[in-house]
């Protein structure tokens, strides 16, 4: 048995640890050594892998053009895309992290999940259909629609790769820890397995395989979570009152689990966190790419509607699961590290840390077979999410950096796709190496950083180039770059990273989440430097707004679905 430092590694809880109130980060997955091999989990996991490899084979045979590779040929329906988007969003971290947060502090988990959801309506109202009408494969297509290709695509690619890198490291480290714990597989093997599978999905199956892996996983996760929540409700005769009553009686924090705790403290932090969650979502490259996989604006809208429904439903389930875990686990020493005296802390002594609440609950309501199922689903979830990230990163390299910036658009389609596959391989190998290097590091802040960069660089660049006629290349380049740099700098100098991660005495920046400030810098920068730009090029770019505007509103001239 190796002992490890506590590693709050998983994505959503990380965000919590990083940008909300680090004191609350009770929910770490503690790498207290490996478990014995979990056979039902392993069998079910291999069934999932076999099925997804079959899909990848099928997808590879029908992936011929660049449109197939990047955008599944535009042949995904609104409902399918809604499931895939929801799948991208319902990471293992949000499933385990939020139910763990509810388990540890009750109501605060609800506050947290609400923040994750409310970005979706904004994406629908302001971005989804315009993105579909203007873009082809990546959000850089939209941002650079009427602007200078080289600088704007370079900036978008840097924004994309930064978000993908931080997100991917957090996911890889979290995956390694979780798999080690659930399956008894050594950390390094787990990371290599995840990396190898994601390379195969992306390099061979492109967007078609990535989307279907995501859809299958979303269905499994929604199905499993529904079953758990139902079993909890059955236990209490479908009376929420009885469930909450039992939870209040059992939980050490008693009635205070029914009210806000210390997740949100001052208004500035609250607003800054809200902005990062809301607009960070609207700047995540792997999510934005999904809008190019549907046939038209109509399907793009529908996909957000379905996605919002699935995600909202999922968060309600995690809330019930968290309360179910309180009532069904806390009085059962089987799930805790019990001292010789027989005493245990009902929150912190949960085996594997509070993030394992949902996993333990699976055993409590469905026995070891269902535990195996949920463990396999958690693994599948990580796989699907990292595959989406890898595809977004590979597309930024091949479609934006290589085809447009380096080859200036003079590149054969099949060559571009080959390069994208190669990029997926490189990104995968780098992710495995980073996952290994960061094994014992605290990577808690990285998802928070990914969201901050997405909200402060990708989102302002996208919004301003689509909505404001006056936007020029110089404005976007300088403003977007300032947003990126300020977000990264402020996160690094914040209490969560500078003090908690690096161990310095005092933080230079007082807030854990910089979005309120870095977004302001980005928008003000784009506006100011566009205003100051009086070049001939700027005048042409502003004149080119009219046709872009008509196309963004009507879809005239937009790339249609490719028939297979």
């Amino acid at each position: 048995m190796r002992t490890r430092c506590i590693l709050p590694a998983l994505g959503a809880l990380t965000l919590l640890a990083a940008i909300v109130s680090p004191a609350d980060a009770a929910g770490a997955i503690e790498g207290g050594g490996r478990q014995a091999l979990n056979m039902p989990a392993i069998v079910m996991f291999f069934a999932f892998v076999a099925a997804t490899l079959g899909i990848t084979y099928w997808a590879a045979r029908r992936t011929r053009s660049a449109a197939d590779f990047y955008a599944a040929g535009g042949g995904i329906t609104g409902m399918q895309n809604g499931l895939a988007i929801a799948g991208d969003y319902m990471s293992a971290a949000s499933f385990l992290g939020i139910s763990g947060l509810v388990f540890a502090s009750g109501f605060d988990g609800l506050i947290y999940s609400v923040g994750w959801l409310v970005g979706w309506p904004i994406i629908l109202f302001l971005i989804a259909e315009r993105l579909r009408n203007l873009g082809k494969y990546t959000f850089a297509d939209v941002a650079s629609f009427r602007l200078e290709q080289t600088p704007i695509r370079s900036l978008s690619a840097v924004g994309t790769l930064t978000v993908v890198a931080f997100y991917l490291i957090a996911q890889m480290v979290g995956a390694g820890k979780l798999i080690e714990l659930l399956f008894g597989l050594p950390y390094l093997y787990a990371v290599i397995l995840v990396g190898a599978l994601m390379i195969i999905y992306v390099a061979f199956g492109g967007m078609v395989a990535t989307t279907w892996v995501q859809i299958i996983k979303a269905c499994l996760l929604l199905g499993g979570a529904t079953f758990m929540a139902l079993m909890v409700l059955v236990h209490f005769g479908f009376s929420p009152e009885a469930m909450f009553r039992a939870a209040v009686d059992i939980h050490p924090k008693q009635i205070s689990i029914m009210a806000p705790g210390n997740l949100v403290t001052d208004p500035v932090s609250a607003v800054s966190l809200g902005l990062a969650l809301m607009f960070g979502t609207a700047g995540l490259p792997h999510i934005l790419m999904r809008f190019f996989t549907v046939a038209d604006a109509k399907a793009a809208r529908k996909s957000v509607f379905y996605a919002t429904g699935f995600i909202g439903y999922f968060y309600i389930l995690t809330f019930i699961i968290g309360f179910g875990a309180i009532t069904l686990l806390m009085n059962d020493p089987e799930y805790f590290k019990v001292a010789a005296s027989g005493a245990y802390n009902k929150i912190t002594d949960l085996l594997g840390g509070t993030n394992m609440a949902a996993i333990h609950l699976a055993k409590a309501v469905g026995g070891s077979l269902f535990l195996g199922f949920i463990s396999a689903v958690a693994f599948a979830t990580i796989l699907a999410v990292v595959a989406g990230l890898t595809l977004a990163g590979a597309s930024a390299v091949s479609h934006d950096l290589y085809a447009s910036v380096i080859a200036k658009g003079r590149v054969a389609e099949d060559r571009e796709v080959r390069l994208s596959k190669l990029s997926a391989l490189v990104i995968g190998v780098v992710a495995i190496m980073l996952g290994y290097i960061f094994e014992n590091q605290n990577v808690a802040f990285m998802v928070g950083l990914a969201f901050a960069v997405a909200a402060s660089c990708n989102f302002p660049v996208l919004l301003m180039s689509v909505f404001w006629k006056g936007t020029t290349s110089r404005g976007v380049l300088i403003g977007g770059f300032l947003g990126l740099v300020s977000a990264v700098t402020m996160v690094v100098l914040s209490p969560a990273v500078w003090v908690k991660t690096f161990g310095f005495k005092a933080a230079y920046f007082p807030y854990d989440n910089p979005a309120l400030f870095s977004m302001t810098i980005a928008f003000a920068g784009i506006w100011l430097f566009s205003k100051l730009d009086v070049s001939e090029r700027a005048r042409k770019e502003q004149a080119a707004y009219e046709p872009q505007y008509v196309r963004s509103e009507t879809g005239i001239g937009a790339a249609g679905a490719m028939a297979h």
Binding site: V118, M258, F305, V550
Partner: protein, 101 residues
Amino acid sequence: MTPDIFDKVKRDRRFQELVATRARFAWMLSGAMLVIYFGFIFIIAFAPKSLGTPIGASVITAGIPLGLFVIVSAFVLTGIYVRRANSEFDAITREIIEEVK
């Protein structure tokens, strides 16, 4: 796709009406979402006690239905937008496109 088409569409009165109506509608719904969400967050920041008020004799507090309301409202608002955009707005868009073809 010639530049004339974009010009023609841009000058079309129905196009101007469409984008004005749709923009108003979208910003109104965005505003509603922002007010609901940040309202919820500000109550938590400034008056956390109020959300801990039990409803009647129940152990359930005001915060629980309010939190659920925020989740459901996000879904309902997207539904309202999609319903109108996919019927009324799309029909007008189709008309405009048919004409300039």
